[in-house]
């Protein structure tokens, strides 16, 4: 598939990357129909995020259509139209159950490091490894929470 990839400060390229696939039984693959550039993507463009690696797919404002779901994904079905929140969340942990999805303790690899970032890495940055702003699909780790716009969005505004 095609994707916008980061290759260094100020260097975003339109690349061909491997197609996304189901890696976890709760994953879903979506065909992206529209995506946007966020101000926080500029932090990536500007090269101030040390965790970025050359070739990383950028972008975290995405919507699309579900084209494949994992065996344990009961929330989504093929054909659903979805918006992808920039906050990755499991939907089941202590914080997600209380509505604090951006504090999800199962989707955050740095939760034990409050001194560095308040315990929560900027999801916009960690997202870049997970969501692909591409032409064919994007891997999506959000199967644990409701699909608020799936099948309900009548006419996308963008």
């Amino acid at each position: 598939m095609k994707a916008l990839c980061w290759h260094g400060k100020g260097d975003i390229r339109y690349d061909t990357v491997p197609d996304p696939r189901i890696e976890h039984p709760r994953d879903a693959v979506i065909r992206v129909t529209a995506c946007a550039i966020c101000g926080s993507d500029l932090h990536l463009l500007n090269g101030v995020i040390p965790s970025m690696e050359s070739g990383d797919v950028v972008g975290h404002e995405t919507m699309g259509e579900v084209v494949e779901v994992g065996a344990e994904n009961k929330k989504l079905k093929v054909g659903d139209r979805v918006v992808v929140p920039f906050t990755i969340a499991c939907g089941e942990c202590f914080f997600c159950k209380r509505g604090f999805y951006s504090g999800c303790e199962r989707s955050n690899p740095n939760k034990d490091k409050p001194q560095s970032s308040g315990g929560i890495p900027p999801p916009a940055f960690s997202d870049t490894r997970i969501f692909s702003a591409d032409t064919q699909g994007a891997r999506l780790n959000i199967s644990g929470f409701p699909t608020p716009t799936s099948a309900r969005s009548k006419s996308p505004t963008a």
């Binding site: 390229r13 946007a36 966020c38 404002e61 999805y101 560095s116 970032s117 900027p122 702003a133 716009t149």
Partner: protein, 226 residues
Amino acid sequence: MLFLSDIFPTGYMAAEFCNIQGGETIAIWGCGPVGQMAIRSAFLLGAERVIAIDTVPERLEMAKAAGAETLDFKDDDIYEKIQDMTNGRGADACIDAVGTEADATASLDSVVDRIKTATFMGTDRPHVLRQAIHCCRNFGTVSIVGVYGGLLDKIPMGSAINRGLTFRMAQTPVQAYLPKLLARIENGDIDPSFVITHRAELKDGPDLYKTFRDKKDGCIKVVMKP
């Protein structure tokens, strides 16, 4: 619908943090896409006046189109202006929709360095948050949705404590906002697509990243399709 992914919930949360009961004056720093959503959300929630602060002409124009009164921080003394506009009391709530480019995982030194040396729209970054605190009325709310990464210098906590300010801030728990904001769109309360200035194909992305970064060509928001 695309903007339910981030900027609409973030701007809406910023306004919701302001505890708007009706009739308030809300000052908003930063008229980028999140700031634009915050301006409209503040009005949706019942704010009487929104004072929008930026310096990019097209962003101020977009703010004005929403009904905001605008201030250009390059021309205006923001504190004095807001005092004048609020009978010397200050804004009921102040939203920082700017944030910083300092990285969350960087070392303490680098974070401090960046904060001290980098520019926020022409001035130092903590200056925005400081100004928001100073411009907030006693017992008002400072709502922070601009992302800060590390440790900020010289935040006037004395002023904040003595004047009873409330601080609200978060990385938006987007999922919690989706049902009600989807309803807002479906009801016709707001059409977030107003913020789009550039539509293109994904292959144009590399150039548009730079256009957006440099705020050229009137660029406020880029949407790409395959």
